[in-house]
Amino acid sequence: MNTIALIPLFPLLSATLLIMSAGRMPRHIAATIGAGSVGLSAICVALLARDFLADGQVLELTLWTWMSVGDFAPRIAFYIDGLSIVMMSVITGVGFLIHLYSIEFMWEDESICRYFTYMNLFVAAMLLLVMADNLLLLYLGWEGVGVCSYLLVGFWYKDSANGAAARKAFIVTRIGDTAMALGLFLLLTELGTLDIQPMMIAANSQWQTGDALPVLATALLLGGAVGKSAQLPLHTWLPDAMAGPTPVSALIHAATMVTAGVYLIARTYGLFLLAPPTMEAVAWIGLATLLIAGFTALAQNDIKRILAYSTISQIGYMFLALGVGAFASGIFHLMTHAFFKALLFLAAGAVIHCLHHEHNIFRMGGLRTRLPIVFLSFFIGSAALAALPFTSGFYSKDAILLSAWALEDIGPWLWAGGLLGALLTSIYSFRLVFIVFFGEAKTEPDRQPGWKMAGPLLLLCLLSLVGGWFALPLAGVFPAAAEHTVNHAVEWISIGTPLLGLLLAYLMFLGGQLSVDKMVASSGARALRDFWFSGWRIDQLYDVLWVTPYKKISYWMRNEPVDAIYNGIVAANQWAHHRLLVLQNGELRWYATTMVVGLILLLAVMLRNAP
């Protein structure tokens, strides 16, 4: 039982140790503690998973009652079922590999100690998020990972652009979080508890499917999920968040934190099932996001931004899966995505590391022979991302598309959109591979990745390839999906699309038969490319709609408009003072006369009142 408590405790303890050392700890010790603690957690998770797979027993552990006010008594308690196990495995497993990788990647950084502090804190918060038995504790983890993300994106604080990106990440997600908090208030007020399992039972007994309240509650929760998982319309922070160190992008902005939204919806699926309109909205949001992000990724030239948009797009798939009710498929894709996207980011990090922090893909090229391990990793990652047959991504994405197809009414539309997205995915993935690793060399790498980098890469390669055959222990978590008859034509199309994308990418970026330069020769096409490059101008739109007005209003008000009232009172007083000052003119005769006037008036009053 106590292994459960140990899992988040290890990274937390490690972070505390690192904080208390105040940066004076030698870097090899800091790195060992930082990575080792996550490794220990991973071992604990593995032990836990082995037991769980053996008996399928849901584990619960209450540490203490957080607070108890009236009937509201959330606990610091864990609830470990199949879904949590999957998430914890991903977090600690992939997390450990990334920590290991970080040791080499960050070795030369002066603040490696601070780096591992933040990373460990993040892992701890993320673990709390997925292990929490109630939504309040989940919210603690949720905000905790947000802050860690902020700290890590802005890790290199000396450049204020990084700070801006970090702030944007935090504030945009905070908007979603606030919606989620409101959702929590609604659930607490209506259902009287935030403990997830009793809450879903209470919801089932109190609410009918399609009632306004569950729709509202789930819509608010969805707001949180959309913010954290970088879905439309709150996705704009993720590309900027690439300002952080690359392992951070791999861990937080690809594998774990950004999928928290997916986890949240899956965790509270019982509520979402009561709200079909929200479910539909989830699906459409996912679809729109995956398409918009896919198109945007096509036009980028920063290696990390491409991956960021691809992450947004892949999470769009997960949302699509959740929206059509295929929760298990969504989680499945979450896991495979964690593998291959972490792999891609780490490989991209290796490229960046070996090319003196070069991010622009057009200044790379021909790295296939110079960085063979990285090439292998990147190729496998891209293949999985593009869902080429028999990679892990293939299985998960295929499951999603089939579930979408099976849905009535809107299903085929969603399926078609997803398919288009798959095509786009394939094109931009291989565009990346072809431009970076093929063609002529433009920048020479000055080093090769060492074992701490290569090891995690190779392990993740393996996971990306075989991850599709894992059977996730989700049977007890979600209601059994309806068996749908598989339409073979649909399946073949799903398989063929990525290959078509690969072909197109080859023709455009390697073979040269379809020259991109020719395509964008016309002004319309160039405008379209610029439009995609700017991320559909959504950032500019928000700038005009929110950021600039907020700044303007705030600066306009900075000198306290309310004070105008009080200054008005002061001014009125001063005005009266100056008027009355005339009476106090220092002329003796005037005083005498006014006294006489007073006397006259006084006597007049007396006479009038006299009987």
Partner: protein, 510 residues
């Protein structure tokens, strides 16, 4: 004990003042010793109270079940007595006051060069007034302490403040004094009319439930409300606060933000609402609107400031809006949240002001445009600032989150729309807090800058405050347990909450 505690601080002030003649370093030691003695006195007294007393519901109108109660005749002709009482709420506030008093002394340890004796004396006398306010049960006595708290604070700002201290001190004085006089008027009305049959009584217990009804009740209540809201400060009576905070010396800011503001909240909870249940509940929608507007307004203005202390001051306006909301929502969740916010905000803002004071002491500026990248020069300061910045934006796991969550959760049952509006404050809080970090500790560092990082003394104070916030965030139950009986005693005083509230607020019945 209560009278002794007040006397101890008063006398400590006098001694500290006079000790300056012997050695200019002596006053701060004496002040520190006085506060620690006070704390020990308090703790030893509490340990003597039987444990089950803490769980008994406090009957506000009776002397029983108060943890401590004492009454001496003072001016019997007018029904004025030295009536002091301590329940869980007062106890909590006393602990906060003494702890932050110690922090304030630490924060100005090396800062005061002019007349240190009088400075420490004023500090202690402010504490005296605050403690008196938290203990007084006689309204006349309460008013006396209310004024006692004001004057030393005025002197602290006016003598040891920064460049524009005269203006700030005068503004602070006029705002609090005018509203205080209105309250005196209300107190007298209540004392004369409340007791009935020609007797005058200022005793809290006698006056409960005797408020005039109708329009007169509303007007009398407004006298109290104004005094407390100015102190709180609630929008639109907050404008003295940014000036006073900015100009006050560090210890003054710490005291102002940490405890003086809390007296306003305490007054609302202890006096304004229970004494005028009917008028207060009629007024609740307006009070809550003021709270909501204050939350957003403070946050928006905080973002636009370039003065470190001013920014923190506006953040106080924003945070105290939650208290106003919580108090007038008047259900267990919201009330506990409001109390928690009083404590957590006291600690987190005190820390931020201490940070500001430390920066000003070292850099001789509060202008954030002249800072930037300080993390490079002083990582320990940076880490502390980051901690308290995220505490201030309401990160779960810290006391501020517990407070804001409970307030909003409680408010949601009363008015979902108001909750939604107030929740915007969570976003805007993130904006200004992170902006603060960006302008000061992040960004391009000046590598030539010599900046003394926190020393052991300052780090000690910071660590204590961090630990306190984490404790409040992760295991706030002791605080709730302490105040629960008090609230259970107060809540029945208002019988018609749901109807009045629901009837007055749009969407009141969810």
């Amino acid at each position: 004990m209560m009278l002794e505690l007040i006397m101890l601080l008063l006398a400590g002030g006098v001694v500290a003042w006079q000790s300056e003649r012997f050695n200019p370093n002596l006053p701060r030691w004496i002040a520190m010793a006085t506060v620690i003695l006070g704390m020990l006195l308090l703790l030893s007294t509490i340990s003597g109270i039987p444990a089950d007393t803490f769980n008994m519901v406090t009957e506000p109108s009776k002397a029983e079940n108060w943890l401590l109660y004492s009454r001496h005749e003072w001016i019997p002709r007018f029904g004025i007595s030295l009536e002091l009482g301590m329940d869980g709420l007062s106890l909590l506030m006393l602990i906060l006051t003494l702890a932050l008093g110690a922090i304030a002394i630490v924060s100005s340890w090396n800062e005061i060069e002019f007349n240190p004796g009088l400075f420490q004396a004023n500090l202690l006398w402010t504490l005296t007034g605050v403690i008196g306010v938290f203990l007084a049960l006689d309204l006349f006595l309460f008013f006396l302490f209310w004024e006692v708290m004001l004057i030393p604070m005025y002197l602290l700002i006016a003598i040891w403040g920064h460049e524009n201290r005269g203006y700030a001190a005068m503004k602070f004085f006029i705002f609090t004094q005018v509203s205080g006089l209105l309250m005196l008027l209300s107190i007298i009305v209540l004392a004369v009319q409340g007791a009935g049959d020609g007797d005058i009584s200022f005793s809290y217990g006698d006056l409960l439930g005797s408020a005039p009804t109708g329009k007169a009740g509303m007007l009398t209540m407004l006298g109290f409300f104004l005094a407390f809201t100015v102190k709180l400060p609630g929008f639109p009576f907050h404008t003295w606060l940014p000036d006073a905070h900015t100009q006050a010396p560090t210890a003054g800011s710490v005291l102002l933000a940490g405890i003086l503001l809390k007296t306003g909240a305490y007054g609302l909870l202890r006096f304004c609402i229970p004494l005028f249940p009917e008028a207060s509940m009629q007024f609740a929608p307006i009070a809550m609107t003021l709270g909501t507007v204050g939350i957003i307004y403070g946050a928006v203005l905080a973002f636009a400031q370039s003065d470190f202390k001013r920014l923190v001051a506006y953040s106080s306006v924003s945070h105290m809006g939650f208290v106003l909301l919580g108090l007038y929502a008047w259900n267990s969740l919201a009330l506990q949240g409001a109390i928690m916010q009083m404590v957590a905000h006291g600690v987190s803002t005190a820390a931020l002001f201490m940070m500001a004071g430390a920066l000003q002491h070292r850099l001789h500026t509060r202008d954030m445009n002249r800072m930037g990248g300080l993390w490079y020069n002083a990582p320990r300061m940076g880490a502390c600032a980051m901690f308290f910045a995220v505490a201030s934006l309401g990160l779960p796991g810290m006391g501020n989150f517990v407070a804001e969550f409970l307030v909003l959760a409680g408010l949601f049952a009363v008015s979902p729309w108001m909750t939604a509006a107030a929740a915007i404050g969570l976003i805007t809080a993130a904006i200004y807090s992170l902006w603060l970090m960006q302008k000061t500790f992040q960004g391009k560092p000046d590598e030539e800058r010599k900046l003394q990082d926190f020393d052991r003394r300052e780090m000690g104070a910071m660590v204590i405050m961090m630990a306190a916030l984490l404790w409040l965030g992760l295991y706030p139950q002791p605080v709730f347990d302490l105040t629960q009986p008090v609230l259970e005693g107060l809540q029945p005083l208002i019988v018609n909450v749901p109807e009045t509230l629901a009837g007055n607020i749009p969407g009141g019945t969810p």
